[in-house]
């Protein structure tokens, strides 16, 4: 893996909201996997020391002046990656649920040029992932719908653990969905003719902080995302925008 990464200008985008307990370890683990990764932590309006902890470890820190929601935060990271000319970006949550040791799995298809976007899924393969019943049902419903829309089997539409090449960075920098964005982002990629791949990964239980998604909110998000998917079916999509530096 290390020689494949070689000279690629690569960056890890770490969205974090009040993750002072875990973000430091996430940064250390990314460095332990590969020192060549630049790391940008996007602090989505935390009220704790998230930004300070990240800056102490030498990561780039983008502090949003107020909470934008996960979509706006992640897009800030992709904008940074785009404007600084990165060839490869991985996205890893600051809460510690994504294990940087699993990076080779999601990087491989992108490095091999077989995919523009590779998503780590909890549900393909044998990885045992526990979560609440409602959440599992919701994830499964979305998986069915997204699979039908993109005409390709997708099992985990809520995973924010992924790798993208320059094409993906350009697309996400230009356009990224707002809240609960992974579902729409997956569809958007395929509609823009980017090649999507899903690989099995093991994820950890959240080790700190609290999930930003509560029960009532998930119903609201589900409705909203279903509406977005439905309306999206009637949109026309431009081909991927690629510029040369």
């Amino acid at each position: 893996m290390a020689d494949q990464l070689g000279e690629l200008k690569r960056i890890a985008i770490v969205p974090a909201l009040n993750e002072e307990e875990t973000v430091g370890r996430v940064i250390d683990e990314i460095r332990a996997f590969d020192h060549g990764f630049d790391i940008v932590v996007v602090d989505d309006g935390s009220t704790d020391r998230t930004a300070g902890v990240a800056a102490d470890r030498g990561a780039h820190v983008l502090r949003l002046p107020f909470n934008l929601g996960i979509g706006g935060a992640v897009q800030t990271g992709y904008r940074f990656a785009f404007e600084h000319g990165y060839d490869l970006a991985v996205q890893i949550d600051g809460d510690g649920q994504h294990d940087p040791q699993q990076l080779p799995a999601i990087l491989a298809p992108v490095l091999a040029g077989e995919a523009d976007l590779c998503v780590g899924s909890r549900f393909t393969g044998e990885s045992a992932y526990r979560s609440s019943f409602a959440r599992r049902v919701g994830i499964r419903i979305f998986a069915r719908i997204v699979s039908a829309v993109v005409r390709q089997k997708v099992t985990d539409t809520t995973s924010g653990f992924r790798a993208v090449n320059r094409k993906g960075i350009a697309l996400f920098a230009a356009d990224y969905p707002h809240d609960y964005p992974e579902v729409e982002a997956t569809i958007m990629c395929v509609k823009h003719k980017l090649r999507l791949r899903e690989v099995p990964v093991a994820m950890r239980e959240r080790s700190g902080g609290a999930s930003s998604i509560t029960a009532l909110r998930s119903v609201y998000y589900m409705t909203k995302v279903l509406l977005a998917i439905f309306v999206g079916l009637f949109r026309r999509y431009a081909s991927p925008l690629e510029e040369e530096h």
Binding site: P65, F66, H178, D179, K224, L227, V231, F234, R235
Partner: protein, 115 residues
């Protein structure tokens, strides 16, 4: 009983509302987040216009014996109030965020000038 022309006009109007909202979302001039209330308004009004017995029944609950379509107007007004209240909260949030942005910008400019 609701006069048929009233039902038809109300159904057409609420259907048009739904179509316009849909098109606004599709052309990205309206975000899903702010469209949900409008869609709910359209769906409820459309249902009440088409389901004429239902409208009579509901009118009965409120003692509106003479002119059931008044309920349509009342429900419409209620939804408009809710949408307006929602917008007031949205504007409040935007205005708070705008203040923060202006303050951050002023601090940044000061750093650039003196740094």
């Amino acid at each position: 009983m609701t006069p048929l022309p009233v039902s038809i006009a109300a159904a057409v109007a609420s259907f048009l509302l739904l179509v316009v909202v849909f098109e606004l979302i599709r052309s990205r001039r309206l975000r899903e987040r702010y469209a949900l209330l409008w869609l709910l308004t359209g769906v409820v009004l459309l249902a009440l216009s088409l389901w004429r017995d239902g409208l009579n029944t509901i009118a009965g609950w409120f003692g509106v014996e003479t002119y059931p379509p008044a309920i349509l107007g009342a429900v419409g007004a209620l939804f408009i109030l809710v949408v307006l209240l929602h917008y007031s909260t949205v504007i409040s949030r935007l205005s708070d965020q705008n203040t923060i942005l202006a303050q951050r910008l002023a601090l940044l400019e000061q750093q650039l000038r003196e740094g």
